[in-house]
Symmetry: C2
Subunit: 362 residues, 2 copies
């Protein structure tokens, strides 16, 4: 079969790590395992430079008709200091919202070979394997009103609105429980029901979905502040962690940092299943655009290549091809190949390009 992939390299190190994906795709094609048609377009700062806005309508249309989307990273100092609706990040937010990508899956895995790169003691993170399920199209990111008004005395008042409905919470809860069944059968749900009404509804709906459909899965409720603490104290207590958009933003960054392998972590943002069973989906590294090392052939392409593997698995059911890529990553690391971010003191680091080629060869 041939699939249509939209590549959105974006800003900073985005184009370099995306080149790694193209290297791997070429290798997959050669071996005859799978073949893809790719299109490339702009998003974020690079789209602002070209089109004057971070997501052109034509790009959105392409994204809607593509079978899946791979995104590099957006943002950089060049485009800050302006109203946030015309910043690079706004392009990403609009993609998520307009494509209905409500479920953000962020695995936080500690690669054994890299456990020493973690800030945490080795025994606390060795073998760590958490799946964060973050709600991605609701909450304070998109609720209205969302505005700054000028008061009569010239001072200002800013408002953001966190909104969640039963339906929004139900569908993300299903994603979390379904994933838990394929993993260790445990879900932790994080909110602040002691302070927020959306937290009260969140807890209530997750509890209901659990009682009605997933009594075989173990469910634990945890306050978001305590959850952040527990992630640092004893991260391996968690398996699947489901939470809202804003808490998910912070907690998934903490979890990613714990692994010591930030440059290695992929993510998937999934929409609702469509008629053909296919979910609209976007795959991107957890790391950002790292403008300080952009263009220097220093970035680690593994998170981006791992995002391609997730894409093959979740969007196209190509589990074997995904396994192949993931094994190639593991083998390449086992052979001692390291980019600068994961090279232990003294070890020789390779560049972005060389790493991608090593993985493609493997």
């Amino acid at each position: 079969a041939s699939y249509n992939l939209l590549l959105l390299p974006g800003d900073g190190i985005g184009p370099e790590v995306m080149a790694g994906v193209e290297t791997v795709l070429a290798a997959l094609k050669e071996t005859g395992i799978a073949s893809f048609e790719t299109e490339t377009d702009h998003v974020g700062g690079s789209a602002i430079d070209v089109h004057g806005k971070p997501l052109a309508d034509a790009t959105l249309a392409r994204a809607k008709s593509a079978d899946a989307i791979l995104l590099g990273a957006v943002g950089g100092p060049k485009w800050t200091g302006v109203a946030y609706d015309i910043r690079p990040e706004a392009g990403l937010l609009r993609l998520r919202k307009d494509l209905g990508l409500f479920a953000n899956l962020r695995p936080a895995i500690c690669y054994p070979a890299l456990a020493d790169a973690s800030a945490l003691k080795r025994e606390l993170v060795e073998g760590l394997d958490i799946m964060i399920v973050r709600e991605l199209t609701g909450g304070v990111y998109f609720g209205e009103p969302k505005e700054i008004t000028v008061l009569p005395d010239g001072s200002k008042r800013a408002v953001d609105t966190q909104v969640y409905t039963t339906g929004e919470i139900e569908r993300i809860a299903h994603v979390a429980f379904d994933l838990a069944r394929k993993r260790s059968g445990r879900v932790a749900s994080a909110e602040k029901n002691n302070v927020m009404k959306s937290g009260v509804l969140w807890k209530e709906v997750v509890t209901q979905v659990h009682a009605q459909h997933y009594t075989d899965v173990e469910l634990e409720h945890v306050l978001a502040d305590n959850c952040a603490m527990q992630l640092v104290r004893r991260p391996k207590q968690f398996d699947v962690l489901v939470t809202d958009n804003l808490f998910g933003d912070v907690l998934s960054d903490v979890a990613a940092m714990l692994t010591g392998s930030l440059g290695m972590l992929p993510s998937a943002s999934l929409g609702a299943a469509e008629d053909g069973g296919l979910r609209k989906a976007l795959y991107e590294p957890v790391h950002g655009s790292a403008p300080d090392i952009a263009g220097a052939d220093k970035a680690n392409p593994i998170a981006m290549i791992g995002s391609l593997a997730m894409c093959l698995r979740y969007s196209f059911g190509l589990g074997e091809a995904a396994d192949l890529i993931e094994r190639a990553i593991t083998d390449t690391l086992a052979a001692g190949t390291r980019t600068a971010d994961i090279a232990t003191d003294g070890a020789q680091a390779v560049g972005t390009k060389a790493m991608a080629e090593a993985i493609a060869a493997a």
Copy 2:
């Protein structure tokens, strides 16, 4: 001078650690350094049991007339599962709001003797000394609307509102910059201006206050998700960290956990300076009510006793008495006395009472 202190032991281990404060107050009185009149009242779950609500009006009135308030901890499984406005936590939130305690100061200090208790590698936390300045009476905690409505189809919609005004941000920024001047002269301000309008206003106002009054202080802006990451990766990069109510809740818990000394960390919640120069203030440990060990003489009273020291320093200008208490804590630890939470494997732990007595004696 004689001051009037209101003691609110609260729930769980609250009463035990508050007993430690009384032990230390008695020792201070004996030595003639300072003398206090204390009153004791209920808050949280214990107030629900006695008065049917987590903060009786009479208790609030007492809090308003007291020179300062010491609080133990509130909450516990006994009082969960009900609407949150009549839960133990609601008593604490009402105290903060009605007393105007807008500035929550949370030091995160790693005691050298306890660096090994941290989940982080020793070199990352040794010497850690961060002061988190959390806005405490605004944001999503108190903004309206804050409600759950039932939709025509029977499903629900929950709304919370994050509101910040120029004035609210200005006054917390002043607290942070003033503190930084007495410390290492650096402030980091955390928000999500790439997603939230309140983050846009936050950044704008903090920038203005800095430019107008504190150009001698170094100011850095950081996104809250990245801040959480950086706290784990390299916590010592931060000195004073100022942020809003909700991010402060999560980030201060992360910072506290990093130190490995959660049972040791005090906090101060300060109001605006009144006519006499006195600020209305409440002091409490960062840790919670730990219902699992309540009544077992296992809790560490140091955070509570440290809160008394903060009280003497900030509310009464009794810096020397505060130093004395803090030195007594350090000496007691140096002598090897440990409660169970900070005892390293094999070492004999003492109880709450014995620890408080050792500090009082010192």
